[in-house]
C-alpha cells in the first residue's frame, strides 16, 4: 500500500534545502578575503576597491579614485592598537621620504571615536591624510582581520604589496621605492 505523504513534507523539504544552501554559501563567503594575498603572492595586481569614505574630523569625503596617478600606502589602524602606535613613526618617515615622488600614505582609522583618532594623529605628529573606514567595510574590501594592515597601491589603483601586521622602515622601503620608480 502506498503511504500518503504529509502536506507539509514539500514545504519543509524546500525550507531545509534553502537553509542548507544558505549555510554553505555563508561559510564559503566567510572564508574569502585573501584574494589580494593570493594575487600579490603570484605577482598579479588586482584593482583595489574604491569606497567613498569621510575624512577624519570632517564631513568631506574622499576615495582611492582621487589618488589615481599616485602611489598610495593604505594603512588601516586604530588608536587602541599597540602595533599601530609602534609603526606610526615609520609611516610618517616614509611619507616624508617619498611624497615628492608622487607618494602618499592614506591612514584609514578603524573602530575609533573621532576624538580618540584625532588625539592619536596629534600625538604621533602624522601629517598625511586620514580617513574613517568602518571595520566591516575594511573586511569586505580588503579582507582585514588584524590591526594594523597595510596595502601598497600603484598609480593605476592596483594592489602591489600588502602586510597584515606591523611594518617597519625596511618593509616600507622595499615595497614603496620600486613602485614609486615605475612610470
Amino acid at each position: 500500500m502506498r503511504r500518503k505523504r504529509s502536506p507539509f513534507a514539500i514545504p519543509v523539504m524546500l525550507g531545509v534545502t534553502a537553509l542548507l544552501a544558505l549555510l554553505i554559501y555563508g561559510v564559503a563567503q566567510k572564508q574569502g578575503g585573501d584574494e589580494f594575498d593570493k594575487a600579490v603572492a603570484s605577482g598579479k595586481r588586482e584593482p583595489a576597491p574604491v569606497r567613498t569614505v569621510r575624512k577624519l574630523g570632517s564631513d568631506d569625503t574622499t576615495s582611492l579614485a582621487e589618488y589615481r596617478g599616485k602611489v598610495v600606502l593604505l594603512n588601516f589602524w586604530a588608536s587602541w592598537c599597540g602595533p599601530c602606535k609602534d609603526e606610526s613613526p615609520a609611516m610618517e618617515r616614509a611619507y616624508q621620504r617619498y611624497k615628492s615622488r608622487g607618494f602618499v600614505v592614506l591612514g584609514a582609522g578603524v573602530d575609533d571615536l573621532t576624538k580618540d583618532a584625532q588625539a592619536f594623529v596629534k600625538r604621533y605628529g602624522l601629517t598625511y591624510p586620514i580617513v574613517k573606514y568602518g571595520s566591516a567595510n575594511a573586511t569586505k574590501d580588503f579582507g582585514t582581520r588584524y590591526m594594523p594592515e597595510s596595502f601598497v597601491i600603484d598609480r593605476e589603483g592596483r594592489v602591489v604589496a600588502l602586510r597584515r601586521g606591523q611594518v617597519d622602515d625596511k618593509w616600507l622601503d622595499d615595497n614603496i621605492a620600486p613602485v614609486v620608480a615605475e612610470k
Binding site: 502536506p7 514545504p11 586604530a78 587602541w80
Partner: protein, 159 residues
C-alpha cells in the same frame, strides 16, 4: 574697590545659585538613557553588545553615549552619531546585502513556506471532508441516523 569686589562676589553667588537649576533643566530634558541604548548597540572593537563589553574602548563608547544623552539627544540621534563614528556595524544589524540579506529573507521565506503548507493542508482536509460526506449505502449521516432512531423510539413509547 570694595564695591567692585562686592559686585564680583554677588555675581559669583548668583552664578552658583543658577548652576544647579541649569543642571536640573539639562537633566529634565533627557529623553533616553545609557541602559536603554547600550543593549541595542555593539562595541565594535570587542565584538559583543556594549552592555556585555568591558575595557577602556567600551567605556569610551559609553562616555560618548552619556554625553549625547546629557545633550538631550534622542535614541535615534545617538544611534546615528554612533554610526557616524563606528560605521553600521555598531547597530548589530545584519547587512542588507550579500549573506547578511539572509537574515531578512529567511523569516519571510519561513512565513511563505508555512502559508503554503497551511494552504495545502487546508485543501487536502477539505477534499477528505467532501469525499467523506457521501453517505454509505443504507446508512446515512450519523446525525440523520440518530434522528431516525429517536423518532422511532418516541413512536414506540407513545401512549
Amino acid at each position: 574697590m570694595t564695591a567692585r569686589v562686592g559686585r564680583t562676589l554677588l555675581l559669583i553667588l548668583a552664578l552658583l545659585a543658577l548652576a544647579p537649576a541649569a543642571a536640573a533643566a539639562a537633566a529634565d530634558c533627557r529623553v533616553t538613557s545609557l541602559p536603554e541604548i547600550e543593549d541595542e548597540v555593539m562595541c565594535p572593537i570587542c565584538g559583543v553588545p556594549l552592555v556585555n563589553a568591558g575595557g577602556q574602548q567600551a567605556e569610551n563608547e559609553r562616555n560618548f553615549i552619556r554625553d549625547l544623552v546629557d545633550q538631550c539627544r534622542t535614541e535615534r540621534q545617538i544611534k546615528a552619531a554612533l554610526v557616524d563614528e563606528y560605521g553600521n556595524e555598531v547597530l548589530a544589524m545584519p547587512d542588507d546585502e550579500g549573506f547578511g540579506l539572509a537574515a531578512y529573507l529567511v523569516p519571510i521565506g519561513g512565513i511563505a513556506l508555512a502559508a503554503v503548507a497551511l494552504a495545502i493542508g487546508a485543501v487536502r482536509w477539505r477534499r477528505a471532508r467532501d469525499s467523506g460526506g457521501a453517505a454509505p449505502a443504507g446508512g446515512g449521516a450519523p446525525q440523520e441516523r440518530d434522528d431516525r432512531d429517536l423518532d422511532s423510539d418516541l413512536r414506540r413509547y407513545d401512549l
